[in-house]
């Protein structure tokens, strides 16, 4: 019996056959077809074994893995060697200057990891007040429709060949003594003017001239005051009475942003005096909405108004139809000789002459109006341009170079210009886009964006400013001054050229002077500064005649009065006012989605151009008076001087009956020019709306076509128009569809200066109390003492961040809105969503018109409640206007916080109401329960959904670069709202912590408080008893909006004070 069991796999093993013994020595009993796998049958005779197979396998797997690992993001390269002055995560600011010929401001550009992402005013140096257009210009840098390189016609070309072409053209012109014209925006850059002089010097035989061109020009004002190339500097700070005749100096005016600040500083109710503002105008302008006394007049009466003021003041001339409405203003002016301003915004030489005469009679010239200190903005040379056009048409212009202008779009002579352009032998455009004009030029040599460029400016006399690049040019572009320099004998870079210009200005050490100027962005040289720029423009003969006309003698005044009287009597039909809007301006930035989505300060309409009309007239003509989501506007055609514009009609209270207003700057890209994504109408589910010929429909219509040329100057008011309804309807998108405050005193409080100065706090700011029963007596208890909840421990403990908003200072310009957009990555949602009341603005400005009906009046007249409320919904014919910024009130008993089921919105220990985006499930209960309606819901995935591909810049690879890396981009389905710029608070606290000091008042600013040109919004720590915001919160004018709801906001408002006598009706 065997002791060991033996197992065998088969008979072969049991018997130990040879085949078995052989095969058992091998690992694999049968041969594996490795060769077939690896090399195929053809190479079967090659001997490659299992190891080779594994090698091949390993290699191919490795190669495949490596290939798969190559992620598409190839440009995200970390800083291996830390660049000087760039710390990842820390912003770097560059002082620079914004200038586009119309707007001007000293800016600080915030860059993160080399990308400019935000523009704020440089308030310490220079003219640091900004408007929405300047704020938003940072987005235009990342416009993916900018040209990426030079072009010949519609074909790409190289810089070398383009340079060769321009050089040859100039040499040929020189040889033929031909006409060479440089057509640009009004240039106030000493170095650029010197570059032009260099160019001239290099081609002495050529007839080189420079024509400054401004689509919206204040030439008449410039001529009337005799201030060459500019308008006189207006000192709003010391003007106790401001009388504006059709002058919207807060928006549609040279240096508007800076004037707004100065005006505001003279409008503080607490000050020794508060300036009084009279406005005579046809359309409700931003300045008009802030006036203490506003009178609606027809454009043809503007001259009459000025004449009657002149008559009241000097006793000369005769009274006219407007004498009774101007009496108050004239008396106010007479009371403060030398301390007032009479401003006329009309580009009519006669009106301006009378305004000059009034100011002279009042002794303002030399006091509030400084003729030796000029503002070189928005003054083009209409006559020179007109003669250029005629020369072009006669084929006399050999070389035309253009920068910063778009006459094929925004000139009243656009058609003639276009024909003329076809006859110019060599046309070169330095435009960044193949826009209406550039696309007609032989060559486009795209210039850099302003944030990629060097430049200097001398806009306000004695104030020299620098622009510096904050990023390498994103595309293959070149600054046009560089191109011109290359054409001159001088050569070299424009940067060196500027430095050499500035070296000529320097007093003392040139390097230190330069470095200081560059650091501050500007330098004040005083009015005695050396003139460093070559004299400009070649004036045409007619121009000189007009300019030489006597301006200030009484004789010329009577001529002018006669002229304006003739204008008034010859006016007929409906009169038209052409104006520019806060967002779009002259139209240069019409493709900027932030500006398109900025609601107009008066109508609150976004993304559109329209005809404004008085409600009474609109009713009479049978147009829709009320516009909302499903109630579109009526469409009408305005026909004047044989030219037609068809647009929707928006009734605006305060507009003079018999007039219509149309904004300029719209209707761009009408022939399908590639000017940008956001300037065209889009369809409800995305994609462009195309017209019958397959072109993209532009937003609005181009009203520049209506501009008339009078005395060689553009006239923006016209008479003899007819308005006819087309019977069509057009949807209008507006962020506010209800226009009156409904007499809700706890939302909005306002008073008049007399009551404020002489009355008790109870007269103008009565705190809310609750009547309570206590010990058998009725007592009035402050709201704060009656509370169901335990208080949040913020008062007196640590920080308590808050804002104070002065309704007296808020002028409604909207600079804060674009600043908030830019700082907080607020999504742009486009017209259709705004129409559906789904705008995403974290900060909005509520605009209320007064109504003829009030509760008091209703009671006194015994009007039924229902009737009273329905009458309250209708604004007065000439209403007073209030602008009320509204954002999250950061309530300490926030209704939103208690209702969120998942605690996604909670209270911070520093008094902030915070949103936790990644916790939010989107029930929208918080938004419903917010009494201020400031919460915004992400209805769609704005950064990817097809509906928004044309309007939302974040859908574009370039547009995404402007996003603030400190702020999360919110996903679909979450709630968002003002965070009081919590990222800035955190950064500010951290900064103080590193320095080991307490957070200093003013060291942290929110985007809105920083952007406000009028310091209407003050941010700070309410617990810091020394802080400004603490003082303001405890001021007699301070109140909490909807205090009686018991929300205990961290944001307080200050009662609006108007400088007028009558109590509010």
């Amino acid at each position: 019996m065997g002791t060991e069991k033996r197992y065998w796999t088969g008979m072969e093993e049991l018997h130990g056959t040879k085949e078995f013994m052989d095969s058992s020595a091998k690992e694999f009993k049968t041969e594996l077809p490795v060769e077939e796998f690896v090399a195929g049958a053809a190479q079967a005779d090659l001997s490659s074994g299992r190891r080779d197979f594994l090698k091949f396998l390993g290699f191919s797997v490795g190669a495949a893995t490596l290939a798969a690992c190559e992620t598409p993001v190839v440009r995200a390269i970390p800083y291996v060697i830390k660049p000087e002055q760039v710390t990842p995560g820390m912003p770097t600011y560059y002082a620079s200057t914004f200038h586009d010929g119309f707007d001007y401001g000293s800016i600080l550009v915030k860059t993160r990891e080399g990308r400019p992402i935000y523009i704020k005013g440089n308030k310490d140096h220079g003219h640091g007040s900004l408007n929405a257009r300047i704020n938003a210009s940072v987005l235009s840098l990342y416009d993916s429709t900018r040209l990426t390189g030079p072009r010949k016609g519609s074909e790409s070309t190289t810089w070398a060949s383009a340079d060769e072409a321009i050089k040859k053209a100039l040499i040929d012109a020189n040889a033929a003594s031909a006409e060479v014209v440089l057509l640009t925006e009004p240039i106030a850059s000493p170095s650029t003017l010197n570059v032009i002089a260099e160019l001239k010097a290099n081609y002495p035989s050529a007839n080189i001239s420079h024509v400054p061109y401004a689509p919206v020009s204040f030439e008449a004002m410039s001529q009337a005051y005799g201030t060459a190339n500019g308008t006189p500097y207006l000192d709003f700070k010391s003007a106790k009475v401001v009388v504006c005749v059709a002058a919207d100096f807060m928006n549609d005016f040279p240096l508007s942003a800076q004037y707004t600040t100065a005006y505001g500083s003279a409008r503080k109710p607490e000050g020794k005096w508060m300036s009084k503002h009279f406005q005579f105008e046809s359309i409700m302008s931003l300045a008009g909405s802030n006036a203490d006394v506003r009178r609606a007049i027809k454009p043809s009466e503007e001259g009459l108004v000025l004449a009657s003021i002149y008559n009241h003041i000097t006793g000369q001339g005769s009274s006219n139809a407007t004498s009774n409405i101007t009496k108050g203003a004239a008396e106010a002016l007479k009371a403060v000789p030398g301390e007032s301003l009479v401003i006329c915004g009309n580009n009519d030489i006669h009106c301006q002459n009378i305004a000059v005469a009034i100011n002279e009679a009042l002794g303002n010239i030399g006091n509030t109006i400084q003729k030796d200190k000029t503002v070189q903005l928005a003054v083009g040379d209409g006559t020179a341009f007109a003669s250029l056009v005629s020369k072009m048409n006669s084929g006399a212009v050999d070389v035309l170079m253009m920068h910063g202008v778009n006459p094929a779009y925004d000139s009243p002579m656009a058609e003639e210009f276009k024909t003329g352009l076809g006859k110019v032998t060599n046309s070169f455009s330095f435009s960044s886009h193949a826009d209406e004009t550039a696309s007609l030029c032989a060559y486009i040599m795209p210039s850099n964006h302003a944030l990629e460029s060097w430049n200097d400016h001398h806009v306000v006399s004695g104030h020299y400013a620098l622009s510096q690049p904050c990023i390498q040019p994103l595309y293959d572009t070149r600054q046009y001054q560089g191109t011109l320099l290359a054409m001159s004998a001088k050569g070299g870079t424009y940067y060196d050229f500027i430095k050499s210009t500035w070296a000529g200005m320097a007093q003392g050490d040139a390097t230190a002077f330069w470095n200081n100027a560059l650091h501050n962005g500007s330098v004040d040289m005083g009015l005695q500064a050396p003139v460093v720029a070559a004299p400009v423009t070649v004036k045409s003969a007619t121009q000189e005649v007009t300019a030489a006309a006597p301006t200030n003698t009484s004789g010329s005044v009577s001529t002018s009065i006669a002229a304006v009287e003739k204008t008034a009597s010859s006016a007929s039909g409906i009169e038209v006012v052409l104006y520019t809007k806060q967002g779009i301006g002259t139209g240069a930035q019409a493709t900027n989605p932030w500006l398109q989505e900025l609601p107009d300060p008066i109508t609150k309409v976004c993304w559109d151009n329209y005809i404004t009309m008085s409600p009474a007239q609109a009713k009479e003509m049978g147009f829709t008076l009320y516009m909302a989501q499903e109630t579109p506007a009526s469409v009408a055609t305005v026909e004047v001087n044989g030219k037609k514009v068809t647009l929707p009609v928006v009734p605006v209270p305060g507009q003079k009956a018999g007039t219509v207003g149309i904004a300029l700057g719209y209707g761009r890209g009408a022939n399908g020019e590639h000017i940008g994504n956001a300037a065209f109408q889009t369809k409800e589910y995305g994609g462009y709306d195309l017209d019958d010929s397959g072109n993209k429909k532009p937003i609005g219509a181009n009203a520049y076509a209506l501009v008339a040329m009078v005395n060689g100057m553009a006239s923006y008011t016209l008479s003899g128009a007819t308005v006819t309804g087309t019977g069509e309807e057009y949807a209008i998108a507006s962020t506010q569809t209800h226009h009156t405050i409904m007499d809700r005193e706890s939302v909005l409080k306002e008073t008049v200066l007399g009551t404020f100065k002489n009355g008790e706090q109870n007269d103008y700011n009565r705190p809310h109390t609750l009547k309570m029963h206590e010990h058998h007596e009725v007592v009035d208890k402050p709201i704060k003492e009656v509370d169901l909840w335990d208080p949040h421990p913020v008062e007196g403990i640590g920080h308590w961040w808050g804002l104070s908003i002065d309704l007296s200072s808020c002028l409604g310009c909207g600079a804060c809105i674009t600043a908030c957009h830019s700082e907080n990555n607020v999504p742009v949602v486009g017209k259709d969503e705004v129409r559906r009341s789904r705008d995403m603005h974290w900060l909005r400005i509520d605009r209320y018109f007064t109504s003829d009906m009030t509760k008091e009046k209703g009671e006194a007249e015994g009007i039924g409640t229902i009737d009273m409320y329905s009458k309250m919904e209708i604004p007065s014919e000439n209403p007073s206007v209030v602008h009320m910024p509204m954002m999250c009130q950061h309530c300490n008993h926030a209704p939103c916080e208690t209702v969120c089921p998942v605690a996604a919105t909670t209270h911070s220990s520093e008094g902030l109401n915070q949103m936790t985006y990644n916790r939010c499930i989107g029930t929208r209960y918080c938004a419903n329960n917010c009494p201020y309606k400031v919460r915004r819901f992400n209805w769609f995935n704005y950064k990817a959904y097809a509906k928004f591909s044309e309007v939302n810049p974040s859908q574009d690879m370039m547009g995404r670069m402007v996003l603030n890396p400190d702020v999360t981009v919110r996903s679909r389905g979450v709630m968002e709202k003002c965070s009081m710029c919590v990222q800035r608070i955190q950064a500010g606290k951290l900064d103080s912590k590193i320095k080991g000091i307490p957070v200093a008042d003013g060291s942290i600013e929110t985007a809105c408080s920083e952007a406000c040109p009028n310091n209407c919004i003050t941010f700070g720590d309410i617990n810091d008893t020394g802080s400004k915001v603490h003082g303001l919160r405890n001021d007699k004018r301070a109140y909490l909006a909807l205090e009686e709801v018991g929300t205990q906001p961290s944001i307080n408002y200050m009662v609006k004070v108007r400088n007028r006598e009558e109590t509010l009706a």
Binding site: R744, Y869, V899, C920, N928, N929, F937
Partner: protein
């Protein structure tokens, strides 16, 4: 044996034996479905599919496909939610409250009414889900242990109370309904011929043997569940009403809401029961069980609850004036005279005026009139919720934000879709489940049967 007064109308008409009752109820399940049933389920399933399509589009694209906006953050979604929850209430009231009060007429209608409750609550529960911006994170509303540290739900939020209220209500209603079904399933199991159906009904009936012990337990459990369900009738809609009552929005911030919502819920629920039963008694030939008397009883409940609702409306109006609060009084003035006055007056007409017509005996015993009225009441109750939600939100404190709500096709599609889903479920119920509580009915045959009464 219990003797019922002979002046009371009999609850079971005709000459019925126990066997007849079984045959009448189980018959439709055993036989082939009539053509009408196929037509009806095809239509309702198509509507349901359209609704599901709209829901998928909504979830795929965003809440923006609805017509909501920055001012009106809830509209049809929560209107539909409250409407469906309200409809559900009648079932629980009939089966639980009427059981406790020993109202025998409930036996003919409680099964269907409870089924209606279950389906209505399913429809209702869908809305808080799909109305969320991020449905996929909806589990955040449950107080689940998590890895986020001390992250917890917000117990202050009425929306969270809703989560608990609705889920409790749904589970109790489901259990209650199912327990009641067990003996009837057993009856079907014993009669049905096809082996598959026999097996299925066998499983569903949990081994019911009909022993006296089974019956005692059945009775006890029913009573206990009725005891649990009764407070839910009042709590669920009270809590739903607190979504509004605890807010600060004028028109929502009202202490009267809980009783007002509960009576409104019963009101609409009974109307829906009427709608369903009147169709069912006709198509399934149940005229002998669901009698004119049943209809009349339910109409009386409609008069009572409708009157309570009417009083609540008037009280609200009075309080808005009496409070002296500007915003409160404007909210109500705006309701009846503002841009949504048509909705307000539709609500008033349907809910306050129309039920009062039932004071006329002839009308409340008329089937055609009752059917029309039941639909009017449900329209009215839908408008009530719409009025409360939308007219309060669209014009609240700050006039600059005042807005209107305009529904989109997705709003409409989702609402109509839920009606489609509801009817699909109900038709399936009518085909495969015993629509009357047949074993319970048998218990009153000798008490309230017509033939039996006539004998004595």
């Amino acid at each position: 044996m219990f003797k019922e007064a002979s002046i009371r109308e009999p609850l079971i008409l005709g000459n019925k034996s126990y066997g007849d009752i079984t045959a009448d109820v189980v018959g439709p399940i055993e036989n082939k479905a009539p053509k009408g049933w196929y037509i009806a389920i095809t239509i309702s399933a198509l509507i349901a599919l359209w609704g599901i399509g709209c829901i998928l589009y909504l979830i795929g694209t965003g809440i923006g496909t609805w017509g909501l906006n920055k001012t009106v953050g809830w509209a049809w979604d929560i209107t539909n939610f409250v409407w469906w929850v309200g409809i559900g209430h009648a079932g629980t009231l009939i089966s639980a409250v009427l059981l406790l009060f020993r109202q025998r007429w409930r036996m003919a209608i409680n099964r269907s009414a409870e089924a209606m409750t279950i389906f209505a609550v399913i429809m209702a529960a869908m809305f808080p889900g799909i109305h969320m911006g991020r449905l996929w994170l909806g589990y955040f509303v449950f107080p689940l242990p998590n890895q986020f540290g001390s992250l917890w739900v917000n117990f202050n939020s009425p929306l969270l109370w809703d989560v608990f209220a609705i889920s409790t209500y749904f589970s109790v209603s489901l259990v209650f309904w199912y327990i009641g079904l067990i003996p009837d399933f057993a009856t079907i199991r014993d009669r049905i011929k096809t082996p598959v159906a026999k097996k299925v009904y066998g499983i569903l009936s949990f081994g019911w043997s009909g022993k006296a012990k089974n019956w005692t337990r059945f009775e006890e459990v029913s009573l206990v569940l009725a005891g649990i369900a009764t407070p839910l009738v009042f709590s669920v809609h009270s809590i739903v009403s607190m979504d509004f009552a605890t807010s600060v929005i004028p028109g929502w911030h009202t202490t009267i809401f809980p009783p007002y919502f509960v009576s409104g819920a019963v009101f609409s629920g009974f109307a829906m029961v009427q709608t369903l039963m009147l169709i069912m008694r006709k198509t399934m030939r149940l005229e002998n069980y669901v009698t004119i008397k049943h209809v009349e009883y339910m109409n009386i409940v409609i008069i009572v609850t409708g009157s309570i609702v009417g009083v609540a409306y008037i009280t609200e109006l009075f309080m808005s004036w009496y409070s002296g609060v500007e915003y409160e009084s404007y909210a109500f003035i705006n309701r009846f005279s503002g841009p949504y006055l048509w909705a307000y007056w539709a609500m008033m007409t349907c809910n306050v005026i129309s039920p009062q017509l039932f004071w006329v005996k002839k009308w409340r015993r008329s089937l055609g009139f009752t059917f029309v009225m039941s639909i009017i009441v449900n329209i009215g109750m839908w408008f009530e919720r719409f009025v409360i939600i939308v007219t309060s939100l669209h014009r609240d404190y700050v006039p600059s934000s005042w807005s209107m709500f305009h529904p989109t096709f997705v709003d409409i599609g989702v609402f109509i879709g839920t009606i489609g889903i509801f009817f699909t479920l109900f038709l399936l119920f009518a085909r495969f489940f015993p629509v009357l509580a047949l074993n319970e009915l048998k218990s009153i045959l000798k008490v309230s049967g017509e033939e039996h009464k006539n004998k004595h």
